[in-house]
Subunit: 226 residues, 2 copies
DNA sequence: GTATCCTTCGATACAGCGTATCGCCTTGCG
DNA sequence: CGCAAGGCGATACGCTGTATCGAAGGATAC
């Protein structure tokens, strides 16, 4: 049985008032501050002044906590605007911004089916906003956008973390991995790649995201227009 | 302690011939068979008839092992075909097939920057095959395809696992989550979404992947043609 | 008012994890 | 032949998710 259809335990006169919402809020606070590794049932319980096993009244497993965390963030995501293109564009952008606010989401997003109430509400909002679009293509469109966004933000966050790990706050990706790449390219084994990396214009994260999103939206336009 | 119960000293000058390649192969075999959770340094070491700490001569950390596993699979991925569209299409399809062969890859892909030799060789092959394309757009194109593929396969594998977990071998996604979704939709809170889910044609995983990829390639065509 | 039941809390325990430490044994060298 | 050096791997530490179960306490029956 899924978490969302299982009732919470009754509000007993308990030593510490607990609820799924409070548990999830505490977990998200930990994750925002110190990453997903900082989210252990023990630490979450400690943050709520409670024994670890107390949480098992509200959660069957740690994965359920992670599902609830993801679903909680989905509540922050709502597309806006008129017309299918603006709706999908804003869906992508707001999803990306949610990941920026909660970097740990990059580790979880796309990793499990999202059937929680907030994920469904997000889906409802998107589908409702796409009222003009033929019913059979709605899901493929949304799936394509979601797939692109998931992959794009994962790569973006991965890169950001790597830059951070080098200790360099420089904006240039090249500067962080430059030495290694220079040495590797010097072997001459990657002539075409090294040419592109050295000669081509480099886009920042925002530009890269929007470029790919632009391709996708333009391709969708081809199919919708007709 | 008596001699009889004292083990003989190891008579092997080279107890077990080890190498990164052998370690990574063993780890991949474990992951293919039982998933990423089955890959612990202890189990990998045991599979090689070796103490766990022995691996630390070859790896600084477990994450390095995971990076090596991913890079090893990248050696399997090479685009084929002529023309930018066929190259990118085959890049996407072969990457997806690699994930099908190694489902655990869905958990790792996009999660860390890939700078290993095989990842770079894959990049080299792609860029070289895109020789006709203007140098400044090569990376954005490849990034967009990669982002889409990463997100798409993550969702696809996530769904496949969920189906498997329900124990149903039915092909219909609806059949697995149907009861829950039916009950949820019956609340009337998701009218647009439930209409689409119920009335629209349902694509299988292959069709969904190719539909999204088609949008992306068509959108790229718009930018390249001009 | 008292006794009994039934729930639920949380201390304890267990198996497994990644990895730091360090003694011992093997090996190469003088 | 004796010694220094180096690497192997046993042991250990702190942490994880979660199963178990004794104890406590509110609710119910008489």
């Amino acid at each position: 049985m899924l978490v969302w259809e299982r009732p919470e335990p009754s509000n007993r006169p308990a030593p510490a008032p607990l609820s799924r919402k409070r548990i999830v809020r505490a977990a998200i606070r930990l994750a925002d501050a110190d990453g997903l590794d900082a989210v252990s049932l023990r630490k979450v319980a400690a943050a709520l002044d409670v024994g670890p096993m107390r949480l098992y009244g509200y959660l069957a497993t740690k994965d359920e906590l992670l599902d609830l965390m993801v679903d909680a963030v989905y509540a922050e995501i709502r597309p806006a605007g008129d017309g299918w293109r603006e709706v999908l564009r804003s869906l992508a952008e707001t999803t990306r911004l949610a990941v920026h606010r909660h970097e740990w989401l990059a580790d979880l997003i796309g990793g499990r089916p999202q059937l929680g109430p907030n994920a469904l509400a997000r889906g409802e909002a998107v589908v409702a906003a796409l009222h003009g679009v033929e019913v059979d293509v709605v899901m493929p469109l949304v799936s394509a956008i979601d797939a692109y966004v998931i992959g794009a933000v994962r790569r973006e966050i991965a890169e950001r973390r790597a830059e951070r790990a080098t200790g360099m706050d420089q904006r240039q990706w090249q500067a962080a991995f430059g030495p290694y790449l220079e040495r590797t390219f010097a072997t001459g084994r990657f002539p075409a790649l090294s040419t592109v990396v050295r000669d081509a214009a480099h886009l920042d994260a925002d530009q890269t995201f929007r470029a790919g999103l632009g391709y996708l939206l333009d391709g969708i336009e081809v199919h919708i227009a007709r």
